[in-house]
Symmetry: none
């Protein structure tokens, strides 16, 4: 399986260099070279390469805008690896938001770039280590799971357990069976949960649980 690569950089010399590097790898094939972002977008749409390596600083359309345009079209399956000389936080932020699969500095050893292309092609992502450090510091906070609302502390362990099951749309009878208790017991627990959390009915309970991240998949965010 050979991977097709598109190269976009406004310096012909750098393009030749990268192309030479890629050609040392039997499984990589450089199918296009372009000198600006607009050409990158059109050529990606035409050739559908597996990976596009884009410089950020380019004429007409910079690498970030090109990334956004390429990934905005769901017909494109091309993975984007961005190259830059300067690792400004702003660049990184936009690149990740646009959905790039790689953010690398030009100071990176060539063999790392090769490996990054393969990583991107298989659907994973790679960020330059010097950037990763700052990224961790800055966004570890934003990964924090939604804070558990304080009123949850009012619930007993059993009640939280029941709430979990209610959130999964289980009926009282199903919950009773699963917990090996009578359904009247479940009704009592549910009633207490609703009273303690100030919810009207189990429908509100389901929404509450999902909004507050008490359930998996839910709520993605």
């Amino acid at each position: 399986m050979t991977l097709t690569v598109l190269l976009a950089d406004d310096h012909a010399m750098l393009r030749s260099g990268l192309r030479a590097i890629f050609e040392t790898q039997s499984d990589l094939r450089c199918v296009a070279e372009v000198a600006d972002g607009r050409a990158a977008v059109t050529e990606v749409a035409r050739l559908r390469p597996d990976v596009a390596v884009l410089d950020i600083r380019m004429p007409k359309l910079d690498g970030l805008d090109a990334t956004e345009m390429i990934l905005a079209d769901p017909a494109n399956r091309t993975k984007i690896v961005l190259l830059t000389t300067y690792d400004s936080d702003e660049y990184v932020y936009r690149a990740l938001n646009a959905g790039a699969s790689g953010f690398l500095l030009k100071s990176l050893p060539p063999e790392e770039l090769i490996s990054a292309v393969r990583v991107a092609a298989r659907g994973d992502a790679l960020i330059d280590p010097s950037v990763t450090q700052r990224l961790i510091a800055r966004f570890a906070v934003s990964l924090a799971p939604p804070p558990a609302p304080p009123e949850l502390a009012l619930l007993t362990a059993r009640e939280r357990e029941v709430l979990q099951l209610v959130a999964e749309a289980r009926s009282n009878a199903e919950i009773a069976a699963q917990l090996h208790v009578g359904d009247e017991t479940v009704k009592t627990h549910v009633s207490r949960v609703l009273a303690k959390l100030g919810l009207r009915d189990r429908v509100h309970a389901v929404a509450y649980a999902h909004v507050n991240g008490l359930v998996q998949g839910g709520g993605r965010s």
Copy 2:
């Protein structure tokens, strides 16, 4: 300049394997091997290695807790590289929050681990590509709404509208008022939605909507 490394894993075999790998590198020296997290903490404090490679699953104290304890002491300049077999999001979150300089899966090729140790030693950070991808996805929440399930196409515009409101735990009467129609109409819509989506009742509809990201703040995820 030779880098000193501490190795922590509860499997002696894996330790030996990693040690052997490190010893192929002239600039790396494995100064200690420990089998649990508590020993890792004390040995790091005693030996002050440049880098500590910790397995996450360890007796007494897991790698994450050990990382937190080590980095909590400002006297330690040791960088932490975490190893794990499973890349649960919870692990990643805790690792990054604790300030680890590396988060790698054991499936990683050995030479990558070597390079990760050097990266960590110079103050940068490296995250396993397969994890990075999800990290980016989570970071760029706005651009990664969960793909809408195909059966949603079966719904008419009105029905989707009603489903939205159902997902927000609105009662039929409330929905009727908001849409300025009779409540019997709403009942019809809800019935059609349930039938088309194969859901038993509105409770399931609420869970469905949240799981599939039809509501804001659903899922966490």
